[in-house]
């Protein structure tokens, strides 16, 4: 029976794949446009991952990152991040680059740790005893990026451009604290920084 199901699935997948015209071309969207490394920014001591440029105008960005916080830095934490950002403005700097001055983003982090649960166990707590998830965290961020054109600087490397960015982010925990205590807490208390680099292919 199990084998039969497996076979069925296999045939089904083949059908789907062939209907999508299997060719390297149609899976091209899976190849990332950017490689990313980041320091801090609430998603790890260091994190790394890939970025996809979205929409026809390439103003959107989807980043998938994995971050790590070692025990010596207050971990040990493993963090998966999915970030959606948008670059509404670009300022051209002669021929060598661009500045994206203000880029809003939202991202979700999932932190893997034995003390962090996706949902508080229902046997232990009544419904709504605690209203949040410990492991899944929504964040709001703003970044500024300077993009250096690499076509001339780094010839024949396949690298199109290198982006350096600084990002400030906050999360639901900090926002709730801030919104209820606007005199004892400041915006700079709740926004945390990270810096990173995008290598664009």
């Amino acid at each position: 029976m199990r084998e039969y199901i497996f076979k069925f699935r296999f045939v089904f997948l083949l059908l789907v794949a062939s209907s999508a015209k299997v060719s390297a071309q149609s899976f091209k969207f899976l190849i990332p446009d950017q490689a990313i490394v980041q320091y801090a920014g609430s998603i790890g001591y260091f994190s790394g991952g890939v970025g996809y440029e979205l929409f026809g105008n390439k103003k959107g960005n989807l980043d998938l990152l994995y971050g790590f916080v070692p025990g010596s830095k207050g971990g040990v934490l493993n963090i998966a991040t999915a970030k959606f950002g948008y670059k509404p403005w670009a300022i051209k700097l002669k021929e060598w680059g661009k500045i994206y001055p203000f880029n809003p983003a939202i991202f979700a982090t999932y932190t893997f740790h034995k003390e962090l649960s996706f949902k508080f166990p229902s046997g232990q707590y009544a419904h709504d005893y605690y209203y949040w998830s410990e492991a899944l965290r929504p964040h709001l961020a703003f970044s500024s990026e300077i993009e250096l054109d690499a076509k001339k600087l780094l010839k024949n490397t396949g690298i199109r451009a290198i982006g350096l960015y600084i990002e400030a982010n906050t999360n639901d925990f900090y926002l709730i604290n801030y919104l209820q205590n606007t005199s004892a807490l400041t915006v700079t208390d709740i926004f945390q920084l990270g810096i990173g680099m995008r290598v664009k292919f």
Binding site: G41, G67, K73, F120, I146, Q180, A184
Partner: protein, 264 residues
């Protein structure tokens, strides 16, 4: 544009402490360590103090603005020896919340100590609390009275029968020379659903059988309450939440305890 970049650079450099690795990190480069021990050292043993006066508050979660006013109100009262924050320092059990609250409490003239609450035990709160404040079960002696601070957040341990830690309590409540009285301080009161029902009898009996046991002080329910769970005559007192702008001034003279509700 240059000014903008310069501004950005300055902002980044000025806020080097703002490079956060995760909201769930248990400490960072500038976070405090061993706050309870440091403050107790400052407090001393009060050997010459025949009037022990302290403030009991709790549930400061999400109430930073109120905590600022609280500090002013406490500082205005003369003769306060120390302040006890009886749990739920934070809402989400994260480092930043503990740092924010302690930043405000630094304004208190009197030293303060923190006792862990159930909210502080969510996420990695236990570890964070231990790093920043100290042990979950601890005691100190001031003016001949032993204050036994302990973790009574049974639900966070899924009622495993070990919280509150009765053997530890029994050991702490043993008579000893130089100690006239005992006061128990913990977050969840014995009459709460969040207190391990299997341990209620053992807990109250342990306190009742301790010669010179003055009172059990708690928080958690957010509203003032005074109750007697048994016929030992020992008062169990719950302080209001920080958000309700009310705290308790507790006074012990000649091993007699009294309570005053103070509004701010």
């Amino acid at each position: 544009m240059r000014i903008f970049l310069l501004f950005l650079l300055c902002a980044a450099l000025a806020s080097c402490n703002h490079f956060e690795f995760s909201p769930n990190q248990t400490f960072d480069k500038i976070s405090l360590k061993d706050v309870n021990a440091t403050n107790l050292k400052r407090l001393g043993n009060g050997a010459d103090d025949d009037t022990v006066t302290f403030v009991l508050t709790g549930d400061s979660q999400k109430s930073r603005d109120e905590t600022v006013k609280f500090c002013k109100a406490v500082n205005a009262i003369k003769g306060i020896d120390f302040v006890v924050l009886a749990g739920d320092i934070t809402e989400f059990g994260v480092l930043k919340e503990m740092l924010w609250i302690s930043r405000t409490l630094e304004d208190l003239h009197a030293p303060y100590v923190a006792v862990i609450g159930n909210h502080d035990e969510t996420a990695r709160g236990k570890e964070t609390f231990q790093h920043m404040f100290g042990e979950l079960n601890y005691s100190f002696i001031y003016g001949g009275v032993k204050f036994v601070c302990h973790d009574s957040n049974s639900r966070e341990y899924n009622f495993n029968g070990q919280v509150p830690n009765i053997p530890w309590l029994k050991n702490e409540l043993k008579p000893s020379p130089g100690i006239k009285g005992f006061v128990g301080i913990s977050h969840v009161p014995v009459n709460s659903e969040d207190f391990d029902s299997k341990l209620i009898k053992d807990y109250t009996t342990t306190l009742a059988q301790t010669p010179g046991f003055l009172a059990s002080l708690n928080a958690h329910t957010h509203n003032y309450n005074l109750f007697y769970p048994d016929d030992s005559g020992i008062p169990y007192v719950i302080t209001s939440a920080m958000a309700n702008k009310e705290f308790l001034v507790v006074q012990i003279v000649n091993n007699k305890i009294s309570f005053e509700r103070v509004y701010f």
